[in-house]
Symmetry: C2
Subunit: 312 residues, 2 copies
Amino acid sequence: MKIGLDIMGGDYAPKATVLGAIEARKSLSPDQTLVLIGDEGVAKEILQQSNVSADLFEFVHTTEVIGMGEHPTKAIVQKPNASISVGFKMLKEGQIAAFASAGNTGAMLVGGMFSVKTIPGVVRPAMTTIVPKLKGGLGILLDVGANADCKPDNLLQFGVLGSLLAESVYGIENPRVALMNIGEEEEKGNMLYQATYPVMKDTNMFNFVGNIEGRDLFGDQFDIAVCDGFTGNVILKLAESFYVITLKKGLKDEFFDRFNYEQYGGSPILGLNAPVVVGHGISSPEAIKNMVLLSKNMVESNLIDKIKQAFH
Amino acid sequence: MKIGLDIMGGDYAPKATVLGAIEARKSLSPDQTLVLIGDEGVAKEILQQSNVSADLFEFVHTTEVIGMGEHPTKAIVQKPNASISVGFKMLKEGQIAAFASAGNTGAMLVGGMFSVKTIPGVVRPAMTTIVPKLKGGLGILLDVGANADCKPDNLLQFGVLGSLLAESVYGIENPRVALMNIGEEEEKGNMLYQATYPVMKDTNMFNFVGNIEGRDLFGDQFDIAVCDGFTGNVILKLAESFYVITLKKGLKDEFFDRFNYEQYGGSPILGLNAPVVVGHGISSPEAIKNMVLLSKNMVESNLIDKIKQAFH
């Protein structure tokens, strides 16, 4: 298995990405290869400085970089030699089994949809995030930003995608899907959520357990919380800000520690024809390592095949 | 000035409400009267137990209560003798200058719209909440649940309503209005927010400062954050859950202390023809006291007249 890593992506790239690759390599088996996509010379310098042999990796040299602030679609079209563009080209051609980057999120989404494309039957891919639970364990929240405007069909599909991720990668059996809403009762919510509830209630594609509210995000009632990408993105960034505040204030707690994005490695984009993971812009080497391992887990669990079957 | 207080509203009513009324009375001047609306006998018993003279208050006896879980519109129509219904009747007839309740939020909203009605020009009233800022001071978030579905016009009006509240009641000069969005750039957001940004940019009705994101909620960039009631309600409940978690974990911090809803007293419903405040269901006597004082401040600052002028 070959995993492609964009070493130019993220605020601290390429240093943090190459150091993360070194760490990830230690957890990979000999038949698993990490392909470093980006500036080969710079990567080899960092490896040398770290006294790590370049022979442990494969390299694909690229000459362009898509910046964090660039317009995704324009950048993907205008920079075919950027590390993200090359990564997706390799993913499409089967040269790598998964592609991970802590770079421009929009470019990762657009690049994925343009290259490997959306799985037939999936209307829109979704971005996910991990939510720590107060009593231990984790939940999955999606969509967190790929789709600012959604229809009931999108939310229904997010329930399927989230369930398969929870089962395959996180080993959660018969995962419970909840709608992130503004009240417990079926009739609560805006028009989108009011229309989605009956559709979810009637589905046999996943285990729907009803509505949850903002205050339930860290609770025990669900494994997957489904919402539109606007709501999910606001939730994600608000929750992150709480974690940052506890850090700044020096408040140490096991629960807050589990907000640390580093240990989750990144956000899978679900619904594409191949495993794609987007890392946090500020990804540290530890985060990069876990992003690579998450990509590996997505390949090993045959998540993409399972999603294809579900939407067949 | 007479302020009406629903003593039957809230999870700990009438005990907490009457005890709160006793506290509020101490901060009111002699020409300010607190009218206790609810079970007069029970109220007088609690006063007697507290060694407080019933002569300090006016009483309006009511025989029905609208429960926290009741359907707002049905309850308002079917229970004309409930404390909330009677309070709004008195507000409409000018017997009280403001009405406050920690009871059924939906019934307060519907009761307000049915009785004192929406100010001409205001399409939909909005519910507000106070947000503590990390560097001190506070911000206002609206709408937090009155309008699950919004149009750009609603959000524009929320900006006006929030600005007038910030200026009149909280003494914030030339308050800055931001859109709660999922990116800083003008083109970010779902269709609602994409359509709202240019309308806000062009308005001279308030001081628009652009988009903020979930992570900016406790930051310095704005005084009023405007969003639809679905998003605002999710934010409100998520932020509350963080406060509850810090409490449970015994984490003491000046910033987290300022999340305590008790000190803000409740959520004004803006856009009605009279001051109306809804308290948190779990309101303590301290919260009830501050809800009464907030109602008084809304009357004294002539907020309603200022809103009427703005929409004239």
